[in-house]
């Protein structure tokens, strides 16, 4: 009937990633909404820093942070909320009926989401760098890739965990996403170095993987500006690695819990229930 378990799940990941990958070519309107609009916010902060005669790297921090907002929004609206919407259109029960791990479905969403969001983030970054003449000095591209990779696995792992929790909360999850958008911009230091929040506030905000990821990425682009760094890059990498493991395990646990509860109560996973 079909090949082994691993092949089946790899194909499932590819299958579920496909709509997101192909979606970025079918809906060109994202260029405006997901690139131009974040640039407006970036521009606002850039002009504030210019007006205040802040050091040049601050505009670079804003551009990098502005680009990274795309990942946070993608995790909130296209990962965390996704199973709820999949349930509403009837896809969820088809996913649950398939002979694959549910983690493969979420992994497919994450891989596809990461692909389309990276396109957006890179577009924002490139346009921001050109518009504001930002000078980036990247000395360790492999390390940048490593930090970015860990940040994304931890971040999307968190999104995978939220996906099941949102399903439990139903429509109220919508408000949670709204609630978590702007406060996280502040807590994670999207437009300023998170160190400015103070040690304990920044430590608390580090539970959101993008906080440390963003701080480490900024350090890699501005290696001489150590006074703005929250923690050393190696420490941040280790914490991110731990967050990857924790969030992926929690995602698997909450997914199993959600499915078990759905099968028992008949409410969570079936359309109109």
């Amino acid at each position: 009937m079909s090949d082994g378990w691993i092949k089946r799940n790899v194909r499932a990941i590819r299958g579920r990633a496909y709509p997101r990958v192909i979606g970025s070519t079918r809906e060109p309107s994202w260029m405006f909404f997901d690139v131009a609009l974040p640039l407006l916010t970036v521009a606002a902060y850039a002009y504030i820093y210019k007006f205040m005669n802040a050091q040049a790297q601050y505009i670079g921090y804003v551009v990098i942070g502005g680009a990274m907002t795309a990942f946070w929004l993608n995790v909130l609206w296209s990962m965390a909320s996704q199973l709820y919407w999949e349930k509403e259109i009837g896809n969820l029960q088809l996913y649950l009926m398939a002979p694959i791990s549910r983690m493969s479905i979420l992994a497919g969403m994450a891989v596809g989401g990461l692909f389309e969001t990276t396109l957006r983030a890179v577009s924002t970054l490139v346009i921001g760098v050109v518009l504001f003449s930002v000078a980036l000095n990247l000395s360790h591209p492999l390390m940048l890739f490593g930090i970015f990779f860990l940040t994304m696995v931890a971040l999307y792992g968190m999104g995978m965990m939220f996906a099941s929790l949102y399903l439990l909360f139903g429509r109220e999850a919508y408000h949670m996403s709204n609630l978590m958008t702007e406060p996280v911009y502040l807590a994670s230091g999207f437009y300023f170095p998170v160190k400015q929040l103070g040690f304990w506030a920044a430590t608390g905000a580090s539970l959101i993987p993008i906080t440390l990821g963003l701080d480490a990425i900024r350090q890699l682009f501005y290696p001489t500006k150590t006074q703005d760094a929250f923690l050393p890059i190696a420490t941040e990498a280790l914490i991110l690695l731990a967050l990857c493991v924790v969030f992926l395990i929690l995602a698997k646990y909450s997914l199993d819990y959600m499915e078990r509860l759905g099968k028992t109560s008949g409410r969570l996973t079936l359309r109109w229930q």
Binding site: M1, R14, G15, Y18, I22, M97, G266
Partner: protein, 327 residues
């Protein structure tokens, strides 16, 4: 696994509890259901809304757990071996809106095939062949959001067949479709069961004629209980309803002998002098009376213009069993 049934349930019970106690009483959707569906059968499940049909399908497709009792699909325990069950089944529901509107028909079907681990090349060949059979070839590169209701449902049904399951659950697959779209789907279901090796379909439908036409056996379910389970012919025999014979003959002068024919319970007639016809209607207690009636009519010098015998329908069976129709 020689004579392992495709589906077997033993005292299968499902009770839905209210979300909060004050929201009402619990609902028993399935009440000790015993069912055995053999491999290669096209089995129908008939019942009014809320009878428990969909609940049964959800349990058999591993989406719901029973409250008590056991269920086996392809010989596997639904609770313990659900992954093995999932490899062998698929399900399509009427009125589905699954998939993604920005994907084409072919891409959507390919995506769902990937969840069953089917090689892309094989999947695409199957998809093209099925789209051709369902008359959707010209739509294969159209985005799903541009399809009509009928086209979309055909695509959904194709999704069920693309994974080539051993057992296919169809929950009112022709709901709301026009005659042509329904016929294409019905024809393919019959063809798939007849020509596949041990392919099994469990079909729920509101359409009595569809069940009568397609199914080898039918179970009638109401309030979570199976009231009867047999072939459509045997179910109809269970309804001890007199058959009627209606005849249009050229104007018949002497009808006195017709009422006395053995096996005739009641006899009525209407003369239509304008058309030179007599309409005769007999309620029969014995079918052998038909030949005597015909002989008597011809013996009186009249000619038969039309003849119609009416038998009990599945709807009559359903009404007798359930006490109501599909209102």
């Amino acid at each position: 696994m020689g004579d392992t049934p495709a589906v077997e349930t033993k005292a299968l019970t499902r009770v839905f509890q209210p979300k909060k106690k004050k929201e009402g009483k619990s609902v028993t959707a399935l009440d000790r259901v015993d069912l055995r569906i053999e491999k290669g059968e096209l089995f129908g499940l008939l019942g009014p809304n809320g009878a428990g049909k969909t609940t049964l399908l959800k349990i058999l497709s591993t989406l719901l757990l029973p409250t008590s009792g056991k269920a086996y699909v392809a010989g596997f325990d639904l609770e313990k071996d659900f992954v093995e069950v999932r490899r062998r089944i698929n399900m399509v529901s009427g009125g589905e809106i699954s998939g993604y509107g920005l994907l084409t028909v072919r891409e959507n079907l390919w995506m769902f095939s990937q969840f069953y681990g089917i090689k892309s090349k094989d999947a695409k060949e199957r998809i093209d062949s099925l789209l051709d059979k369902f008359g959707l070839s010209d739509k294969r590169d159209e985005k799903v959001r541009t399809l009509s209701t009928g086209q979309r449902q055909k695509m959904n049904v194709v999704r069920g067949f693309v994974t080539d399951p051993d057992i296919l659950f169809l929950d009112e697959p022709t709901l709301g479709l026009d005659v042509n779209a329904s016929r294409v789907i019905r024809d393919h279901i019959v063809d798939w069961v007849d020509n596949g090796k041990d392919k099994t379909v469990l079909l729920t439908t509101h359409y009595m004629a569809e069940a009568d036409q397609l199914c080898n056996r039918i179970a009638i379910i109401d309030e979570g209980k199976i009231l009867a389970c047999n072939t459509p012919e045997n179910l109809k025999k269970m309804v001890r309803m007199n058959k009627t014979l209606t005849l249009d003959v050229t104007l018949l002068a002497d009808k006195s002998v017709l009422g006395a024919v053995k096996g005739v319970d009641k006899f009525t007639y209407v003369d239509d002098a304008e058309k030179n016809l007599t309409h005769l209607k007999f309620v029969l207690t014995d079918e052998s009376a038909v030949s005597d009636i015909v002989s008597d009519v011809l013996g009186n010098g009249s000619k038969i213009v039309s003849l119609q015998k009416t038998e009990p329908t599945l709807e009559d069976v359903f009404i007798k069993m359930v006490g109501k129709g599909f209102e």
